[in-house]
């Protein structure tokens, strides 16, 4: 554990004390977002010390060009980058003619940050002494509105402590910003207009290449002693617009600036409407006012927590950790816009380009299914349906034909935008996760309608891909799949990765099954899809042949499926026997050494056992878990959750809890010394799964919710809520018992430890 400066608190993230070394880490941890935009917790006032500036607009990216040693056919020409957007939060604060800058103040006292997760706001307060002796205190409160999701609000209050002072506020917008991560230091933004209108300012700028047009806007009000302070000047340059407010502030008195700001974007509005739309948002904001907006913010977050909160009694750090994870997932994605998805770092940094990975389907979907209405999960599925044509193009670039679809490893708009052959071309299991998500959605929601409407076409494209991707081995007399990278990215270009082979077979079987269902029950959809895809019988029989004769590497000696061909040739030294100085191996070893080692970055065979739990006995799970876990270094934040769930299933609660701890406070405690780059958003969903599916044992089987609750000995009790088919089920687990309740609606039959239990509204049932 590398830091423990975050104060334990059930509902808030709190930092106390000013430490310049922590600025970038706290900028990540105190990030705010509303699904449509987000930003790092940069200071409003100037700061001359080290900082990582970031404000991000969902879906606005830049295709940065790339270059590699030897270009490979099929590589995309670019790597999509999430863009640091124009700064709208900036407020120059000038005390007696000198800039307030915490980096140069003589002293900074009572520095405190709070990210209030219950209500969805971020507050920073401090006292500071200027080099020229003036003492002031500041309270700055900020939030991004869930209600008006193109709007953010700031209240910035300055109090004169030891003398009368002249305060000048210069709130500004700035489009002269850059990305930390840029390959060629290209200019990403082009500013086309800078304007102001009384207390309002506007910058129109568009991204280069992608041509996303944006209006960054602001309106400010300053009040002193109950009276408005009038802006006395404004300033415009090529990339900047600022207003200025001067006021003498008496010792002991406070002056307050309220700033509304944000972005309107051509993704959502006509390009010529951006300024007008911004003005109408500002009108609404002015009508409602800062306090009114804050009230709405609290209500909106109350609704979110009502469906998704997890409480843990007896362990405040665990409580804080899980709420932080749930909070951040909700800040990142709310499912309102099916063109958006969940970037691994959300709106908290630039790394991973803000793009979509298989993380969404494999890890995030269960969280959103269980804590939102089903429309949100539908949106996530629809996102991939909209990208089906691009996935077919992507497969064509790699030599596939006839409508075979390969979804990209990393994408912003459906096109592949990553270029390392061993990942881009070979980590094809992502295709299977997308098919599995369709199955999972139907299993959880009971809603079959997605499949005839959209899903079946996706399943056909994916089945076609697998059918073309395998080949028949005369030597093995079975179908094999050569040259892939599995979820364990510490192996590249292996043959017969068990997980990928298993997924491929399952995808084909599932597609064939759904073809039958749709044919029999949705004949019109079937006809439309058959016409569109030109799928005919000889092809599906060929699919079936492949699925029926797929090769799975297996060791008779060990009684386990092998991660891939040749796995047993490795030097099988278990992780605990590896010198600690060698770890993490991805920082200590060259790539070839990692590849030839037995070490597993994240669950691979076990990922398959997680997805297809019903296909394997508990004995088989135990055998595979005991074989593979000792070689697993969990150097992906997505690894421990699967192991936690499986350890819980095997009744190994101590081990399950140990795995749970590895992700629940990964960012808060900065295990990997990299939190300053941003938060691990997608792995946060894994933490949620560890509790709900792991400790709570929640499954959906036979169209019913199932639970087999356990509790870590470190906890007194825990409670979680899930939305199952429009009923909110609350589950409370203590050492002694588990209790279940629903708040309204029809009676709901669930299974607890294999036995049916009928829940009726308002009644808590112990089971």
């Amino acid at each position: 554990m590398n830091q423990d400066y975050i104060k334990p608190d059930a509902w808030s993230i709190v930092e106390e004390g000013f430490d310049k070394e922590r600025i970038k880490s706290s900028e990540s941890l105190f990030s705010i977002g509303n699904g449509a935009m987000g930003q790092r917790a940069n200071f409003e006032e100037n700061y001359s010390g080290g900082t990582f500036q970031g404000s991000y607009i969902a879906g606005v990216y830049y295709p940065d060009k790339t270059r590699v040693g030897w270009w490979k056919n099929g590589y995309p020409e670019y790597f999509a980058k999430v863009l640091n957007a124009p700064n709208w939060i900036g407020i120059e604060v000038v005390i007696n003619g000198k800039q307030l800058d915490l980096n140069t103040c003589t002293s900074v006292q009572d520095f405190r940050r709070e990210l209030n997760m219950k209500e969805g706001w971020y507050k920073r307060s401090f006292s500071a002494e200027m080099p020229s002796g003036e003492q002031i205190s500041v309270v700055a409160t900020r939030f991004l509105s869930l209600d008006l999701d193109e709007l953010g609000a700031i209240k910035y209050e300055v109090t004169a402590i030891n003398q009368d002072i002249e305060v000048t506020f210069r709130p500004y917008l700035d489009s002269g910003i850059t990305n930390e991560d840029s390959n060629w230091d290209d200019k990403f933004w082009n500013t086309t207009a800078v304007s102001m209108d009384k207390d309002q300012g506007f910058i129109e700028a568009h991204t280069m290449k992608t041509e996303f047009a944006t209006c960054t806007y602001m309106q400010t009000m300053v009040a002193y002693n109950g009276k408005a302070v009038i802006s006395n000047s404004g300033n415009k340059t090529e990339n900047l617009v600022s207003l200025a407010y001067d006021q003498q502030v008496s010792k002991g008195s406070s002056i307050s600036l309220t700033k509304f700001g944000g972005y309107t974007v051509s993704r959502n509005h006509g390009k010529s409407e951006l300024v007008a739309t911004a003005k109408s948002i500002l009108d609404k904001a002015m009508q409602i006012g800062f306090d009114g907006l804050l009230e709405k913010q609290k209500d909106a977050w109350a609704k979110i927590w009502k469906m998704s909160d997890i409480t843990i009694a007896g362990d405040v750090k665990a409580q804080q950790g899980i709420r932080f994870n749930i909070f951040q997932l909700n800040q990142t994605y709310l499912g309102k816009d099916s063109r958006l998805n969940i970037g691994p770092k959300g709106f908290t940094g630039e790394k991973y380009g803000g793009s979509t990975y298989w993380d969404t389907e494999a890890y995030c979907l269960p969280f959103y299914m269980a804590t939102k209405n089903q429309e949100v999960a539908w949106s996530l599925l629809e996102y991939r349906y909209h990208h089906l044509e691009k996935a077919i193009e992507n497969a064509e670039k790699l030599g596939f034909s006839n409508g075979a679809a390969l979804y990209p490893m990393v994408t912003m708009n459906g096109e592949e935008c990553h270029n390392e052959w061993e990942i881009t071309f070979e980590e094809i299991h992502r295709n299977g996760a997308i098919a599995f998500a369709i199955f999972n959605y139907h299993r959880y929601t009971g809603d079959y309608s997605y499949i005839p409407k959209m899903g079946l076409e996706v399943l056909i494209g994916i089945a076609r891909f697998w059918h073309q991707r395998v080949n028949y081995s005369v030597d093995k007399e079975q179908y094999v799949m050569l040259g892939v990278t599995g979820p364990n990215e510490y192996e590249n270009n292996v043959n017969n990765n068990w997980y990928t082979n298993y997924l491929a077979k399952w995808c084909i079987d599932y597609a064939l099954e759904q073809l039958e269902v749709v044919k029999n029950h949705y004949p019109e959809d079937y006809l439309r899809i058959m016409t569109k895809t030109q799928l005919e019988d000889p092809e599906t029989s060929d699919w079936a042949k492949v699925a029926g004769s797929m090769y799975f590497p297996f060791s008779d000696k060990h009684g386990v499926y092998l991660q891939q061909d040749g796995f047993l040739d490795k030097e099988m030294i278990k992780v605990p026997d590896l010198d600690k100085s060698e770890r993490p191996i991805n920082q200590k070893w060259s790539w070839d050494r990692i590849l030839r080692s037995p070490y597993i970055k994240q669950a691979d065979v076990l990922q398959g056992f997680y997805f297809f739990e019903d296909h394997f006995s508990n004995e088989a799970l135990a055998k595979h878990f005991d074989f593979y876990e000792p070689f697993t270094v969990h150097e992906s934040s997505l690894s421990p959750c699967v192991h936690s769930i499986q350890a819980a299933k095997l009744g190994r609660m101590e081990q399950a809890y140990t795995f749970y701890l590895r992700t629940s406070r990964l960012d808060l405690d900065d295990y990997n010394k990299e939190v300053e780059e941003g938060l691990h958003i997608t792995s946060m969903a894994g933490t949620w799964m560890s509790i709900v599916e792991g400790f709570g044992g929640m499954r959906v089987a036979e169209d019913m919710l199932n639970f087999s609750p356990q509790i870590p000995t470190q906890w007194n009790s825990y409670t979680f809520r899930v939305n199952f088919r429009n009923q909110i089920v609350t589950i409370t687990v203590t050492e002694e018992t588990s209790s279940f309740e629903i708040s309204e609606g029809e009676p709901l039959t669930i299974k607890v430890n294999g036995k049916n239990v009928v829940l009726v509204p308002g009644k808590t049932i112990e089971a």
Copy 2:
């Protein structure tokens, strides 16, 4: 075949006719070099059309920074680039005040280039009409002196055809040059001084980062009607120095400019001595004169040809092709400087960075051993000995220890400078080629002295590497080598590449043998080496254990060694059954598809059968040849030669000749449509091997030269010469017979078709 504009000629490369589309190709084909520097056949006068400017100084490079998607530990920070050096050949030619520029002339007639390989010069001649109507003819002759290898010479003659004209010559030096291949458009050269002195000009410039200091220099003389024309002005700018000569030239008369120029470099002289050295070279040149230097050039090339010429009767294109190959190899490397080596493109382009690859040991060494004195081959070996420390460092970066050495895949100074993990970290067979070269040198020259002096240390470092690189497979109960790339780069990260495993075993065995020999016969060297390397017995026993129990993949069904584990799982469609539109696969297929295909880029298992011919029966060779060749696409220019030699050995002369043709005129006929990027220098040595080792059947065995000559039916006869232990042996093969002679020295016993034959000077023996 893509071009046939090169006229067949036994001793010259000739182009006739002006075609702007061919400029870049001809710039490559007519390149000149003298081992110390080289240049593309760029025009002296201005040319505003498409051109690829290149003048290169041996050993002068730039470490261009690189960036890749995901950096891997152990990657070098840079990729070495051969540098386009300052231009010393430039001559502005001004006719009646207007620049001569063939791109804008009204007509260009009688355009002719000749690269005279026998005498080592390049001549260009043409008549042109200026847009303003003046008609002139030009003859420009150029060579880089073998005698004074820092010097080049140009004679540039202009004749007035249809009217009196005013000719202005402005010879210049220009250091404001760039590389075509630059990752970040960095500036590679920094000019520090520009000076002139009467008819001389000097530019001092050094490379960025590597700080190679150079003086580019020139001296010019202009003569008209037997009288010197005096320079009337000069001009200096930041990166340029030029002189100017004005002269009225009468219709029918000629004016001639002689320009001497070149580079002095801090690799060879003190930094403060560069200008003075240049002046003293110019003094020598002026004393000898252009014609005198040209005579010396002819003599020097006559000496080279005396030892290395191959004549082919009855096929002028074949004759031209083989001489072109021998000529270019000699232009690239002459073995005078053991800090230099043979870049795959020599001095003819920028691609492959001018760096050293395993091509040198595997393909070029046999050529240089047989056509030079043995000091040249010694220099090539010494080059690697000087890099041993760097090879040990390189291995340490990849986690090896205790003096294990991994030579770089690509290098300028011993450091690795390529960063693709599958090549840099995994194409480790290069280490074996370097050990094999030591064996090969001793076998051919009979000179053991390199081994105790230098070679044994190299062999120890290499043996240590292999010993550490393998691991014991409990499953196979043998040593395995996981995660390598063999010579067939169309497979990456495979397990148990047969060639690499075989080389590793052989390297260890050979090192152990040489340890014994040195111990017994060179006790002082042995003591020194043991002290330096700290090699002790338990370690060598461990080596022996590995060599004695190495795993080699073998197919009982096919009776062949497998290229790697799992090779038989591929879809085994032979190359002739592959649709032509799919080829070359490296241009048509994405990398993953290439990798999972059975297609072989260049000899892999067969490369091993070539190196270790004695270890396998002819039957085994035939079996492996017949198994692998049908899957070989020969998309490396290094592939056909090995197959040609082996086909000849199997008595399949038609097939051998077909393979031979694929490389002998690879560049002249531009098979791969890329000759404009430069020539394939290292594969030219393979062409030489195809004749000498393939058709001539030359081997060294039992300390004797062996021949088993055959002749392609397309030829009447062929003759080649080799220097075997300081005796020049001339071999002439006709359809009916083979004859052998030596010119001087002691009688020499050779074997022809297995029978001893004694050669005595001056007597031609038929056998």
